[in-house]
Symmetry: C2
């Protein structure tokens, strides 16, 4: 089965960071105007706003709050720093609950010079430490495997197999995976591991964007769907065949797109979503 | 077993591109002056020089020619372009033989928008097509798995498992692998696949440098050993335990280091080689 083209916006979710120049109110008004259905809220974009009020604002425009980005960054060389990370993740879970987001996405963390295996141990410990709060608040956690180019200081979880293995080890209904095509598209085992993730009922989120050639910045040069080489529709077909029927979340960090008119960019996203996702 | 610190320069090889500002004669004179033992010659650095003469020059300074970089780039959408790549690789093998290099390193290639699986098929076809020339000239070929951030247009071989699988499929004494810490350090299966590569007698080369935090350019911001987070000595221990006793090849593309005084940089390399490799 090939995924069919997308004919409605009922599963289109956009991350607030994709329109970084906009305030939360501009996000709410413009997403509603063009028919976007869901929104994932970045913690930075909430700064200074009461999350309860932010949730009300977004829902008042008919938007579903899909997830809250992001928690994580559990590893640290110093035990007091790991404790501080746990405190911060509990606060993030509280904010997600106040906002009305059912999911927190985890960028798990890594420490330059500490072995990745050691960082993964600390990630498991950190997730286990915050699990009681997640259950109490009814907020799930998604481990997001990050591209290997972020293995130095952002995440020691760099492919889907590793994320699946960690889910298996933690073994909680509250912990699953965020599958992001940008991070995972290159992996020869991607289809196999997506199907495994689906069998485990661990696909909690699906993120899309594109990989440009050339990519001029490791972090801030992601492409709009269709601008790059990722077989997004094929990967979506694997995810859907594996039982995931949630949102397709557009998450684009791009200084180029941020520098342009955001209403034009939103129109481009909606077009690209139908044509290239 | 942990790899022991390095106490001599008898296995130190440096790639000519590491000192891009230098002519081949400056490379030869300066490497000899500080006691470097081997050199890997980049094709660009040979431009305009007769490879037989270049080989004589380098050997006259006591340098062993370790390999010739680089062949590859086999995949292409158009059949005539793939044929052209085969012709070019045969010429590269001829040049390596004329130079006196026993090995050509392959950056295998990829085509944005073509599936990586399809590119890997074309890579196998390309290597098989040039194998007769490699045998005729007595020049071996090393598949170099490249970091996943180069999967768009540089290589569809992005981890050691994939390179090992391709070697197994091609099944020729003339085809093995170049293990480069920069491309592979993040992989949770690296130790297992290095040992497998060793059992197959396929470790043909070992390249070192470091991964800096932050890395500011996808291609031209590699670090000197010790400037980053790669566990170089640990990876070297796995390679040596797997039966590899060839050169440790320093391959650093860095606009920052190229902008500095090259004699100072060479001194830093020799120091970092003893301290951090």
């Amino acid at each position: 089965m090939k995924a069919t083209p997308i004919n409605s916006l009922s599963k289109l979710c956009i991350h607030t960071i994709t329109h970084k120049p906009w305030s939360l109110r501009e996000v709410a008004d413009n997403f509603a105007r063009v028919g976007v259905s869901g929104v994932t809220v970045w913690r930075d974009d909430l700064a200074g706003t009461n999350p309860v009020e932010a949730g009300k604002l977004l829902r008042s425009r008919g938007l579903e709050i899909v997830s809250y980005c992001r928690g994580g960054f559990f590893p640290a060389k110093d035990a007091s720093d790991r404790k501080s990370a746990i405190y911060d993740n509990e606060r993030t879970i509280d904010e997600a609950a106040a906002l009305g987001a059912p999911l927190v996405v985890l960028v798990c963390g890594a420490v330059p010079g500490q072995s990745l295996a050691q960082s993964r141990r600390q990630i498991v410990d950190g997730i286990n430490a915050v699990l009681p709060r997640a259950k109490e608040k009814g907020v799930k956690l998604a481990i997001e495997p990050l591209h290997p180019m972020y293995a130095d200081d952002r995440s020691a979880v760099n492919d889907l197999k590793t994320a699946n293995d960690l889910c298996e080890e933690i073994n909680s209904d509250y912990v699953g995976v965020a599958v992001d095509v940008y991070h995972l598209w290159w992996d020869p085992r991607l289809e196999v591991e997506i199907r495994r993730c689906g069998r485990m009922k661990k696909i909690f989120a699906f993120h899309i964007c594109d990989w440009k050639t050339p990519t001029e910045h490791l972090l801030l040069d992601r492409g709009l769907m269709g601008e790059g080489c990722i077989p997004i529709r094929e990967i979506r077909s694997w995810v859907e065949e594996s039982g995931f029927h949630g949102y397709n979340e557009v998450e684009i960090f791009s200084e180029k797109h941020w520098a342009g008119d955001q209403r034009d960019f939103l129109d481009q996203i909606v077009h690209a979503y139908r044509e290239h996702s």
